[in-house]
């Protein structure tokens, strides 16, 4: 088990390294660079430019040097100092801009994840056991709709319904009166009252997906002979289901722990933009539009690393819950 984890960890290192290179190439793709354009804009508007400052940046990030040197400087800063560089757009270090926002995005992703699991697992089991029942058809239909409706379209429709029929303006993280206040219980409650919507919107797509997976694997397992054997033992139907087919069918769901979180994390981006939340998504969007390269690069690297980490956790979880993987047996997988 330990060697499995170590081996898996070692495989992750070159992966993350490649991701960082890719991220760097992607943010360098647009012609021109932010600094030059920024300076041009400042000059046109007649603002004074601190030449020393410009030179300091140019030197620090090797902006006058070839690509690979720039990359090395960038990645060295990240690895050794945890510094993702400077955001020209925000006029402050990238770390300062993103830390809080990523935190909020993460909270939203985590809550969506909790909602998703706690809905999908019981519903998936239920519809598999009652295959072809009314509930099965209902959730299958709902599942298809959930799959076909991306979060941001759902967000648009909900915004319309809430505004037109209930006069509520959804969106944002806080009501205006709390926006600038320091943290308090009231502010926290206000935050929650805004959070449930993005959480719900995000969770719906994932839940639809998970119900389908849970139902399919559960149906596969229900057909296996050991279910009948367990019944023949005299176990109650509930115990049979829980200890036998569910115990196996839940493995692929448990292993979604790793990537589902990250999926919500990145999939939530467009939803966050539509709902105008002050979180990671909109910042990435803006930085991409404005070629704020270190900001964009930081996001891509962080999300890529999180995803790699997520699939690592998934694999380890799967090995823990499924002895067949632990012992390297392919039987019945």
């Amino acid at each position: 088990m330990l060697s499995y984890i170590i081996g898996r960890l070692l495989r992750m290192i070159p992966q993350v390294f490649l991701i960082s290179i890719l991220a760097f190439i992607i943010v360098q793709l647009p012609p021109g660079d932010y600094l030059t354009e920024h300076l041009n804009r400042l000059r046109q508007s007649g603002a004074s430019i601190d030449q020393a400052e410009v030179e300091r940046f140019t030197k620090m990030y090797g902006l006058d040097q070839p690509m690979h040197i720039q990359y090395l400087k960038w990645i060295t800063n990240i690895v050794t100092r945890g510094s993702f560089g400077y955001s020209f757009e925000w006029q402050k270090p990238v770390n300062e801009v993103i830390v809080g926002r990523i935190g909020t995005t993460f909270v939203i992703a985590f809550l969506s994840f909790v909602v998703c699991w706690s809905l999908a697992i019981p519903i998936g089991i239920y519809v598999a056991v009652r295959q072809y029942s009314l509930a099965d058809y209902f959730f299958t239909f709902l599942g298809f709709i959930g799959l076909a409706t991306p979060g941001f379209l759902l967000a648009l429709v909900i915004m319309y319904v809430a505004y037109t029929y209930f006069g509520i303006r959804v969106g944002g993280l806080f009501s205006p009166e709390f926006e600038t206040q320091p943290w308090s219980w009231a502010k926290f409650v206000d935050l929650l009252s805004h959070l449930w919507l993005p959480v719900l919107i995000l969770a719906i797509g994932g839940t639809a997906n998970l119900i389908r997976t849970m139902r399919a694997t559960m149906l596969d397992e229900l057909r296996k002979q050991y279910v009948m054997v367990a019944r023949a033992k005299g176990l109650s139907e509930f115990a049979v289901l829980l200890r036998y087919p569910v115990r196996i069918a839940i493995n692929p769901i448990l292993s979604t722990f790793g990537w589902l979180l990250v999926w919500f994390f990145s999939g939530g981006m467009v939803v966050e933009i539509v709902l105008n939340l002050n979180t990671a998504g909109p910042v990435l969007w803006r930085s991409l539009m404005r070629q704020d390269m270190y900001m964009a690069g930081a996001y891509i690297v962080i999300i890529g690393t999180l995803t790699a980490l997520g699939s690592l956790i998934s694999d380890i979880l799967l090995a823990i819950v499924d002895p067949r993987i632990r012992f390297g047996s392919m039987e019945g997988l």
Binding site: Q225, Y226, V229, R231, A232, G234, P323
Partner: protein, 354 residues
């Protein structure tokens, strides 16, 4: 305990499956008697209803299947072993209820065909056996584990103290079937239903498992309902044999008679389709062509008029067999056959006397 006492009596059992394509009459009027300590062999081709009969006995028929008619009486030996019995009508029980679950795995247990998939791959052999013991016997976990190890030793599992913590996929097919049998016998049942338990195994392992089952039967004093399509295994295991065809028992008698004096044309056909070593090799005769029963089992949705075997029967009587369904005929006590050929010989004989 008196030897010839009836343990289970199946009367006119009908188990139908209601599918979109039609009704499958998997079991269509089966009468069977299983006596204590005795082995009843149930023989037939796939789809003849032998497995469904056994699943009906434990009320394990999956939907859309349902017992539509008939009853199954279980003469439960009382705890004191003083010879008195409680009669339980199994067909009247709630299939998910307390009573039937007390019987399952405890009084009547079952071993299935596929040892490879009979146990959950993600729980250890021990967990799955201990679970059965703790379910039916009031013992703590340590004691249950001890009993599980004992049982594994009884089925001649090598190193039972270690195997108990193995996962099923770490065992070979034969070892797995031993573990499954240990699980089935862990509560010392009165009846063991064995549904083709050796079909998936190779010949040497098969012999070992059969041997094991026989010796355990003697040790524990249980009855066995042995379901198979292999007549050789029946000859080795059973005292009484029932031959099934399309949801009905077409012939039932003791094992000797079935081999020496088969009456039903279907039984005769089954017997003559077995390759025989003695004829072809030992006696050096010209090789005999294996006889076969012509045709195939008809598709399960159609219901044939008359005797269900008549389209394939070599001795079919025109205008009789395809019109009238033959009734059970007792050609003599202890030998039942459902065939028009014997209607003349013996007018519906006396019912069996238990």
């Amino acid at each position: 305990m008196p030897e010839n006492q009836v343990l289970v009596e199946i009367k006119d059992l009908h188990t139908y499956f209601f599918l979109a394509e039609g009704v499958v009459r998997a079991v269509d009027g089966v009468d069977l008697v299983i006596k204590r300590r005795q082995t009843l062999g149930v023989v037939g081709e796939s789809g003849c209803g032998k497995s469904i009969t056994s699943l009906s006995l434990l009320r394990l028929i999956p939907p859309p299947g349902r017992i539509t008619q008939g009853e199954i009486l279980y003469y439960k030996p009382s705890a004191g072993d003083n010879g008195s019995v409680d009669v339980i009508n199994i067909t009247a029980l709630n299939p998910n209820g307390r009573e039937i679950r007390d019987i399952r795995g405890n009084q009547i247990s079952m071993v299935f065909q596929e040892p490879m998939t009979a146990m959950s791959p993600v729980r250890t052999v021990g967990q799955q056996i201990i679970e059965a013991i703790m379910l039916h016997q009031k013992v703590n976990k340590a004691e249950a584990r001890k009993r599980a190890i004992e049982m594994l030793a009884r089925v001649k599992m090598p190193k039972p103290e270690r195997t108990i913590d193995d996962y099923p996929f770490q065992l070979s097919g034969g070892m797995r079937q031993r573990a499954v049998i240990a699980m089935a016998l862990s509560c010392h049942p009165h009846l063991l239903i064995a549904d083709e338990p050796t079909t998936a195994l190779d010949v040497t392992t098969e012999a070992q498992i059969l041997d094991l089952m026989r010796s355990l039967q003697n040790e524990l004093g249980m009855a066995i309902m042995y379901i198979t399509h292999n007549l050789g295994v029946v000859a080795e295991m059973a005292e009484e044999v029932a031959v099934m065809y399309l949801g009905k028992v077409v012939e039932q008698t003791d094992v000797k008679t079935i081999f020496l004096e088969p009456l039903h044309p279907y039984t005769q056909g089954l017997l003559s389709s077995i390759p025989r070593l003695d004829e072809s090799i030992m006696r050096g005769e010209k090789r005999r062509r294996l006889q076969m029963i012509k045709g195939m089992v008809p598709d399960p949705y159609t219901r044939l008029k008359g005797c269900p075997f008549h389209p394939r029967c070599p001795k079919v009587i025109g205008d009789v067999c395809d019109q009238v369904e033959p009734a059970s005929i007792w050609v003599r006590p202890g030998h039942m056959v459902r065939c028009h050929l014997y209607a003349e010989a013996v007018k519906s004989g006396p019912a069996p006397s238990h």
